[in-house]
Symmetry: C2
Subunit: 219 residues, 2 copies
DNA sequence: TATCAGTTTCGTACGCTGTCTAGAATCGGT
DNA sequence: ACCGATTCTAGACAGCGTACGAAACTGATA
């Protein structure tokens, strides 16, 4: 007999191997030697399956307690865990923009993030706002990273082909002279522009920290 | 005779009115009193149509020059424009995680963002990193906002029904005592947690500004 | 004006999707 | 051995993107 756990695990395996688009009811059923409609004894809709998948992998972002005492270290640890999670399950990015993370593991993860702010001595509202901004930065980074990694590889086009195919059009725009700041960056590339995650994160944390003693917005 | 512009405009209208899922080749064709395959004389694949739609609305994020001299004001202006754009075309969020913004209007928008950093006197690499972090924060905020707005409204469920339907399950988790920080926030809500955008943006900008004089990461 | 190449439009079809319906098979408990 | 409930299944429906090949229409040339 099938189990909900097996269905979710299989769906995750398919998504890991071939992306979220490959996860169809029929495909997951086939993978389990079952027929499509059989899955509907365990889930109500495909949406539910996706939610279960999301919460299942969210467990990988939960770290073992206790968190580091220093709030920055705690947040950095949680952030790194989240990055690893996305690296293992890139399809998580596709789900981010579609659902709120409200499963047991998702909530555990949020609770841990909140607890990281404990040492800061800020009130509940401020912690919530800090959390929101922290999450927003992380989401944005992860989405951008996914897009950048995905676009050259799509359709089996490797880097060389992409350079040959996509660039004539972009080059035309670039060489128009309308983009004086952007043009040299695209033409020559920007050395050292990768791996900006922790640098940006530190800016965000600096801004939040600086706002504590002083005024409201830090300005 | 059909034109590419008319197709794109119609697709945008459909997306504005009924969301991106409603934009199918057949639907757009019907809206233009044409048959599905006719559109393929003007676009190569549906992907192209989506890219054209994205760049078309990107024009709305471009502001009239000159930008404010103060870099923070300039960025704030651009950010607000982008928020308005997303409010007018919420389906933009669905596209963010799927494609890079490389049309003429998208590039214009990036160029303007880059030019906002002119007054800061930072080198090219730093400006690029600032831009990335700024964009990441914006993307994350916009995605979260879209998710939060979408989830209660989905399936025609209004707020009351959502409270009655979704919460028993969440309430069970919350009342388990496993989430001491999260529980009171969900039960009582967090007063004043909305409209956090500009506050968070200021933290990000503060962090970037503070890193200029001092060390590398600001720490 | 008649012809012809090229573009635009269209009907049909294939394989895929989520999921509704209705019946068959299987199970645990009495 | 029976019965109600659960699990499984086949089939169907409406929708999707788009490949294929033919029709209709266009403007330019003979």
């Amino acid at each position: 007999m099938l189990t909900r756990e097996a269905i979710v695990a299989t769906a995750i395996a398919v998504a890991d191997a071939e992306g979220l688009d490959a996860v169809s009811i029929r495909r997951v059923a086939t993978e389990l030697d079952a027929r499509a409609m059989t899955l509907y004894s365990y889930i109500e809709r495909k949406e539910d399956l996706l939610a279960l998948m999301a919460d299942e992998i969210a467990a990988e972002a939960v770290v073992e307690e206790p968190l580091p005492g220093d709030w920055r270290e705690a947040l950095l640890l949680l952030a790194r865990r989240e990055l690893e999670l996305v690296r293992r399950h890139p399809w998580r990015v596709d789900l981010i923009s579609h659902r709120v993370a409200v499963g047991p593991n998702g909530l555990r993860h949020v609770e841990q993030k909140l607890s990281a702010f404990d040492g800061l001595g800020v009130d509940r509202l401020t912690a919530w706002r800090f959390l929101a901004t922290f999450n927003d930065y992380m989401t944005g980074f992860v989405v951008r990273q996914a897009v950048e990694r995905r676009s050259p590889r799509e359709q089996g086009i490797d880097d060389a082909e992409r350079a040959a195919l996509a660039e004539p059009y972009v080059r035309e725009l670039i060489e128009s002279g309308e983009f004086p700041r952007l043009a040299p960056m695209i033409e020559q590339g920007v050395q050292g522009a990768d791996d900006n995650f922790e640098r940006g994160l530190n800016w965000v944390l600096d801004g939040m920290e600086g706002s504590i003693g002083g005024g409201d917005t830090g300005r």
